[in-house]
Symmetry: C2
Subunit: 92 residues, 2 copies
C-alpha cells in the first residue's frame, strides 16, 4: 500500500498556494491567467505550482487557443478538501 504515493499527494496539497489553486478549481475549469488574478501571485510562481499539482495527477490541462485551461482531475478531490476542513475545525 505504497506509502510514498500517499505522501506525495499530501505534500502536494499541503502548500498554501497549491491548496488555493485547488479551491479555485472547485468552481470549475480556469485558465492560468484567471488563477493568477484570483490568487494575486506571480505568473511564474503559479506556473511552478500548477506543474507540481499536475505531476501529482491532481489536475489536468488542455489548450484552448492561446490559453491553457486547468481543471481538477477528479471530483473526488473535493472530498479530501472537505474532509480536511472538517478535521481542521475539530482540532488544530
Amino acid at each position: 500500500m505504497a506509502i510514498d504515493k500517499q505522501l506525495r499527494l499530501l505534500k502536494c496539497v499541503a502548500d498554501e498556494t497549491r491548496f488555493q489553486i485547488l479551491m479555485t478549481l472547485e468552481g470549475g475549469e480556469r485558465c492560468v491567467c484567471e488563477i493568477i488574478e484570483e490568487l494575486g501571485e506571480e505568473q511564474s510562481l503559479i506556473s511552478h505550482h500548477l506543474r507540481a499539482l499536475r505531476k501529482c495527477g491532481l489536475i489536468r490541462r488542455r489548450r484552448e487557443g492561446k490559453k491553457i485551461m486547468y481543471r481538477l482531475a477528479d471530483p473526488s478531490i473535493l472530498g479530501l478538501l472537505t474532509n480536511v476542513e472538517k478535521l481542521a475545525s475539530k482540532f488544530c
Copy 2:
C-alpha cells in the same frame, strides 16, 4: 473558514515519520518506546514528531508510570488517512 488551520493540519500529516506514527496509532494506544521500535528511528526524532502531532491536536498522551502513552485524538483521523490512501491509489 480558516485556511491556515487546514494547512497546519495537512503539513503535520504530510511528513513520512509523522504519517507512520499515525498509522501505528491506528492500532490503538502505544508508548513512545513501541513507536520508536516500530519505526526504527532515533528516540529524539520520534519525540520531536510526537510533539508536532500533539501541537496540532491530532494525538493525545497520558503518563503511565515511567512510560508515556500516545493515542489518536479522535477516530475521525482514520477517515482522513483512508481518504488519502484511496486518492493516492487513484492518481499519483
